[in-house]
């Protein structure tokens, strides 16, 4: 009986069994934690790089020159972002005013009106809208929308064109997230109100939507965050003159468009000023994310 284990142990000594298991386990754990750290590092890296890029302009002109200054002549030391921040907010808020209610109606349709097949088909429509590249929206806006607006109120490239294009782009975000929020509600709410004799529209308006206020608001916040950051489609239709948005037909320039337009030739402080534009944009998005977390939406991690 004693010979059996000794044979195994002798063979172990003779044959090479590859890397010891303990080492493999250790390597695995290190790789695992490194992946987690890398994900955090990616986020931190983007913010740090943004801060480093902004530092020269911020130390030269000061933050006040950016957030209070009215004029943007970066090569002459005028770094005012006020007009562009106002334009970014105007375009995004306009888009949300259109896409918010429409998106909520679309979510209600999928959840409470459509059958399985129609609901799935309409989801495909929303996904397709979300998948269309922003340059394609921009191209459509330039060739269809802008000429129509120009025939009415020249020159056509305007805040209004930006709002229309952007609201189409933001709509699927709001609709899909609001639908996810509605899905999280206990079905007893809706079924219970029907059982009490509510009509469908009344149950939705008085019971369902008020109960889903948080998630629906969070969906709108994320739609707004999307709108703030959208670059190319807006750039292609708003005209890009740096001016306060004083009429829907005025040509304006948004913060992301400003970066995209000038980054190609900007050097030194001018380049750094564009990083400050990015930082201000990021701060606006961060504020919206904070509001979204406060309202606690559907924890859709795709965002």
């Amino acid at each position: 009986m004693t010979s059996f284990p000794s044979i195994i142990s002798r063979r172990r000594r003779i044959r090479w069994h590859g890397t010891p298991n303990a080492l493999k386990d250790a390597v695995f754990v290190v790789v695992l934690w490194a992946s987690g750290v890398l994900a955090i590092g990616a986020m931190a890296g983007v913010l740090i790089v943004l801060a480093i890029g902004s530092a020269p302009a911020l130390s030269q002109a000061g933050l006040a020159a950016f957030v209070l200054g009215a004029d943007w002549y970066p090569t002459a030391g005028e770094f005012g972002l006020v007009a562009m921040v106002a334009a970014t907010l105007a375009v995004s808020a306009g888009a949300l005013l259109v896409a918010g209610p429409l998106g909520i109606l679309c979510a209600v349709y999928i959840r409470y009106y459509a059958g399985d097949l129609a609901g799935a088909a309409f989801r495909v429509v929303l996904m397709t809208l979300a998948a269309i590249p922003s340059v394609v929206y921009g191209l459509w806006g330039m060739t269809v929308l802008v000429p129509h607006i120009a025939a009415w109120q020249p020159p056509g490239t305007s805040l209004l064109a930006g709002v229309v294009v952007l609201s189409i782009m933001v709509l699927p975000t709001v609709a899909v997230l609001a639908e996810a929020g509605l899905r999280q509600l206990p079905s007893s709410l809706y079924l219970g109100s029907l059982a009490l004799g509510c009509a469908r529209h009344a149950a939705i308006k008085r019971i369902v939507l008020p109960s889903a206020k948080g998630p629906v608001a969070a969906a709108c916040m994320l739609g707004l965050a999307r709108a703030l950051g959208e670059t190319m489609a807006v750039l292609m239709v708003v005209g890009n003159a740096v001016a306060m948005p004083d009429s829907p037909f005025a040509s304006v320039r948004t913060l992301p468009a400003n970066i995209a337009l000038e980054m190609a030739y900007a050097i030194d402080v001018h380049r750094s000023a564009l990083f400050v534009s990015g930082l201000v944009l990021m701060a606006m998005v961060g504020l919206l994310l904070a509001m979204r977390w406060y309202w606690g939406g559907p924890d859709d991690p795709q965002f």
Binding site: C106, L129, Y137, G229, T231, M236, F275
Partner: protein
């Protein structure tokens, strides 16, 4: 009168909103395709652009697009799978490390693409010295699609909790469970996540104009600048008078490739389609 009218009006509002959305989608796609489809010929796909893109085809643009997205997906795959396995295997869901990681990923997902462009320009083009190159553009896009791919991978990994527990019950080491059980089981979901990432990457222009650049020559290696389809459309529409025709043709190609790849990856993922948002 109003009592009977109200439900009708409310229902009508919902259906009108839906109809409007469907009509807008149809109008946009039809407009692009009717103006572009006739110009998409074999020759268009296989020749180089001439006269700044007004004439000729998009061959080098197609090659650059494939190269940039390939770099992006190849770099994002290990990062995303690593992050997802970390969240599932290394930490409890409610642990601080898990919440921090998940929070960082969700913030990363909300970062505007132009900000990725700024960061990518500084990190990859300046600091790492890649210049305007397919490599720099691809790595920037990899950062951008990391959160969406990681999220889909995590969801899929969590769906196989039973297999995972069975592995532990057999006394397998963690690395065997991850490598031999969970990753093969979750592979379809992981690839579906990459498909969504592809949709993002191939549509992107803002993050690419100053990372991969807009040189329209045929790239020789990943260190050359290359112009993707989306950037080509942007350039034709904005900077080339008379470039509209080829812009629509390129847009048709872009729409078709997004649709094809997203449909393919969704099919791989099985019956349940994923939210492409």
């Amino acid at each position: 009168m109003t009592r009977n009218f109200r439900p009708f009006a409310n229902d009508f509002l919902v259906r009108a909103a839906v109809a409007a959305v469907v009509l807008v989608l149809a109008a946009i796609v039809l407009h692009v395709v009717t103006r572009g489809a006739a110009l998409v010929t074999w020759e268009f796909l296989t020749t180089a652009p001439r006269s700044a893109g007004r004439a000729g085809g998009i061959a080098p643009v197609l090659v650059s697009t494939v190269a940039v997205t390939a770099v992006a997906l190849a770099a994002a795959l290990p990062l995303a799978v690593g992050a997802a396995v970390f969240l599932v295997e290394a930490v409890r869901p409610e642990a601080t490390a898990a919440r921090l990681t998940r929070g960082c990923l969700s913030v990363l997902a909300a970062v505007p693409s132009i900000v990725f462009g700024l960061a990518g320009n500084m990190i990859f083009c300046d600091w790492l010295g890649f210049g305007f190159s397919i490599l720099a553009g691809g790595l920037t896009l990899a950062l951008m699609i990391l959160p969406i791919a990681a999220c889909v991978a995590e969801t899929t990994l969590r769906m196989h909790g039973e297999d995972r527990r069975a592995g532990y019950a057999l006394g397998l080491p963690q690395r065997r469970i991850v490598w031999s059980i969970m990753l093969p089981a979750a592979a379809p979901g992981i690839f579906a996540g990459l498909g969504l990432g592809f949709g993002r990457a191939v549509a992107e222009s803002a993050a690419l104009i100053f990372t991969s650049g807009y040189v329209v020559r045929m790239p020789d290696s990943v260190f050359d600048s290359g112009r993707t389809l989306a950037v080509h459309i942007l350039d034709l529409a904005m900077n080339v008078p008379g470039g509209d025709g080829n812009a629509f043709a390129t847009a048709t190609v872009l729409l078709a490739s997004v649709a094809a790849v997203v449909a393919l990856f969704t099919a791989l993922d099985g019956k349940r389609g994923r939210d492409f948002i």
